[in-house]
Symmetry: C2
Subunit: 246 residues, 2 copies
């Protein structure tokens, strides 16, 4: 996978059969990989297209390549999964975003909850985006996991409602006795919905008010079993189930 590079539409160009790669990715090719004219590389644009290319020239900050073949194959799941939770702090953001992207999550929504512990601003968003690109390079995904702006619960609900036909789950332990709870085994007994969103609490867990709101919005409570999982573990667990058992 080390010959894969992200062709950021914002800073790169494709014209006829020629591609100009610039920015971090060009730098990586030139300085880190010691790439050369004649090397074959795969450039993916993050929306599902990728281009098998041959490098024509190498500048200080750009790489020019000739497109040999346009590819549309991808390894995306048939399940479009959205994971919505409050960002954890520090390193744990990196693990979370990287692993969710690797597993094939379609979209991550940082939530502003009462017990959120980390801010989500432009600098954070940029850093998270970088993790997503790196994960895509490593794991062969040609589609970048989308990360939306941070939003509160009310906005999350509006957002998902506009998507239409999204089956919504709220991770909530059974021991709290909420009516209508389901389990993953039950869900897997049927064909999985094609669009799923899972709402997961922060480390300090949801407030009663947030739970009541989510239930009112039609999120179905989902129990993961007896062990208390940390936020990022719960996210990975539910993403693993939906994306490897579909």
């Amino acid at each position: 996978m080390s010959n894969r590079f992200f062709l950021d539409p914002a800073i790169s160009t494709i014209e006829d059969d020629r591609v100009i790669l610039s920015g971090n990715e060009a730098h990586h090719f030139v300085r880190v990989m010691r790439g050369k004219v004649g090397d074959e590389i795969i450039l993916f644009d993050g929306s599902g297209f990728s281009y098998r290319c041959s490098v024509e020239s190498v500048g200080k900050a750009t790489v020019t390549a000739h497109v040999l073949e346009t590819l549309t194959d991808n390894i995306e799941s048939s399940i479009r999964l959205t994971v919505a939770t409050a960002l954890p702090k520090g390193d744990r953001q990196h693990f979370l975003v990287e692993k969710l992207a690797e597993l094939g999550v379609a979209r991550f929504i940082p939530l502003r909850l009462e017990r959120s512990v980390a801010r989500s601003d432009a600098a954070v968003a940029q850093r998270l985006r970088r993790y997503v690109v790196e994960a895509a390079k490593q794991c062969g995904r040609n589609v970048l996991m989308e990360i939306t702006n941070e939003m509160p619960l009310t906005e999350l609900n509006d957002f998902l409602t506009q998507q239409r036909n999204v089956t919504k789950y709220l991770l909530h332990p059974l021991s709290l006795g909420v009516v209508g709870q389901t389990t993953l085994r039950t869900i897997l007994a049927n064909e999985l919905p094609k669009q799923i969103a899972v709402l997961i609490g922060p480390e300090g867990s949801f407030t009663e008010h947030e739970i009541a709101m989510a239930l009112r919005f039609g999120f179905q409570p989902l129990d993961l079993g007896a062990r208390i999982l940390r936020t990022e573990t719960a996210c990975l667990a539910v993403a693993s189930v939906f994306l490897t058992c579909s």
Copy 2:
């Protein structure tokens, strides 16, 4: 969960109703938590027993407590899952061991494979053990995930054979066309076996020879889907499925 401490049988004692806690855990209580006489703490011995205690006295390096109640409840899964793989390097070991313990894996077996990248020696084993204890304290598990000595594939097979009735899977992508492959969805369509072991390759993947050996040993090839997962992600994914869908 911050009042939970590990009662290491090797360095602690219980006599009648009195417990003496020493070592790291005592230090943590005294210096980090600023624990005091009269505090109520839960001490777990790692084998399933836990003791609700009241602190009687606090020394420099020991804590003496009176047992109020012996508890045998635990949150262990009905599925006894063994995960066997080559240890990844550095921080990724911590992440892997911590998350597997949190999810409820019964046993982790570090494997010596041809493409292993990290050594497993006494210092490593001690460090991994510490991660397991910390995970147990955090997530409320009263049973410590077992970590065996490092072993090669042949020894892994002997070990599992001695356990009897362990259903053995080898994580192996479908694209490699191995006959007899199954998927998680197929496995979940039936009642799960009570004892499961999953063999997962290192970052550089198994050699042909290792795969042939595992198949000969009766490990059934299991495919996780289209995306290539890193070793620790694959471990977490399969542990998540078996332990949250049972």
